[in-house]
Amino acid sequence: MIIAERKPIAEITRALAPYKNVLVAGCGTCVAVCWAGGEKEVGVLASQLRLARGAEGSQISIMETTVERQCEKEMVTDLKDRMAEVDAVLSLACGAGVQTMAEIFDDKPVFPAVNTTFIGRPEREGMWVEMCGACGDCYLDRTGGVCPVVRCAKGLMNGPCGGTRKGGKCEIDPDKDCAWVLIYRRLEKQNRLDLMREYCAPKNFRAVKRPGRVQAGKA
């Protein structure tokens, strides 16, 4: 799922400085599951903002809401009737959500409250790790299901880089597993090690036009 991380409060208060009535909008799916932008985090951020303003002696009135999915236009438009007395919107959704909110309510400034970081999974409670870089041209069939583009620090397509530490750890980050050691062990287990001998041409990262577009049902 999409993993995000709350921005430092200083950045948020600086952006909101000129505004009096703020709508803080959370999103109920991905960012909620990774404890960054769900209903709970909306409450905590709103309370923190009120306390910060209180400490500076100025006032702020905050409306708190959480949209089921902020990347759905219809769900965001539902907030229409509450936008009248709002000066600015603070969205805790991922990049897609913030931009949908900004697009629907283009007369009001919309600020992000979280940094969308990667597509990943929970490693243990409260910690999430990147698994996929959405490069648009998946190689997982050739690496036994371990993605070197993202999980190898240098993104090598014909690894390992020879600097692997003892215990199969990455040269750059000692407590991170070297992706290519994982690939080797996985293929060894399925005795498909010959795949490692195939040379993999450099990836053309510009092959995929930005911004990406997927049309259901078309080639």
């Binding site: 409060i9 905590v44 923190q48 306390l51 400490a55």
Partner: protein, 135 residues
């Protein structure tokens, strides 16, 4: 009127709350500004409860749970400790002294510890209060 100097204490019904009762029975003086909210376990208290108490003007917030290793719900007091640290970080981020939110662990038959802990919180909050006022 904002409750200048009030201390909101979330007391676990297995440890903090009975300790407060014993302190009363022994006539040991705990701070008058203390407002005790009874919770089933320290693990029930969330960051939003602590922040809302500060928004309401509390000078300090405390979570009183069971001793480490004696929690009736095994992980309740460790969860509460993590959330208090998180709340303290959130306060530090906006310039309020992180030490105003504290977690203390005690057992139900330790009234003396309850009184020492709550008086310590009040003194810390007062000295901190003076620093904030003249800032």
């Amino acid at each position: 009127m904002s409750m200048k100097g009030t201390i909101v204490a979330f007391c676990c019904q297995h440890s903090g709350y009975p300790a407060a009762d014993l302190a009363g029975k022994l006539g040991l003086g705990s701070p008058e500004a203390l407002r005790i909210i009874r919770v089933p376990c320290a693990g029930r208290v969330d960051v939003i409860h602590m922040l809302r108490a500060f928004e309401k003007g509390a000078s300090a917030v405390a979570v009183l749970g069971c001793e480490e290793g004696a929690c009736h719900h095994i992980t309740g007091n460790t969860r509460a400790k993590e959330r208090v640290e998180q709340c303290s970080m959130l306060l530090k981020e906006i310039g309020i002294d992180g030490r105003r939110v504290v977690m203390f662990r005690l057992s139900p038959n330790a009234p003396r510890k309850f009184v020492d802990v709550t008086n310590e919180i009040e003194m810390a909050a007062e000295s901190q209060g003076r620093q904030d006022d003249n800032r």
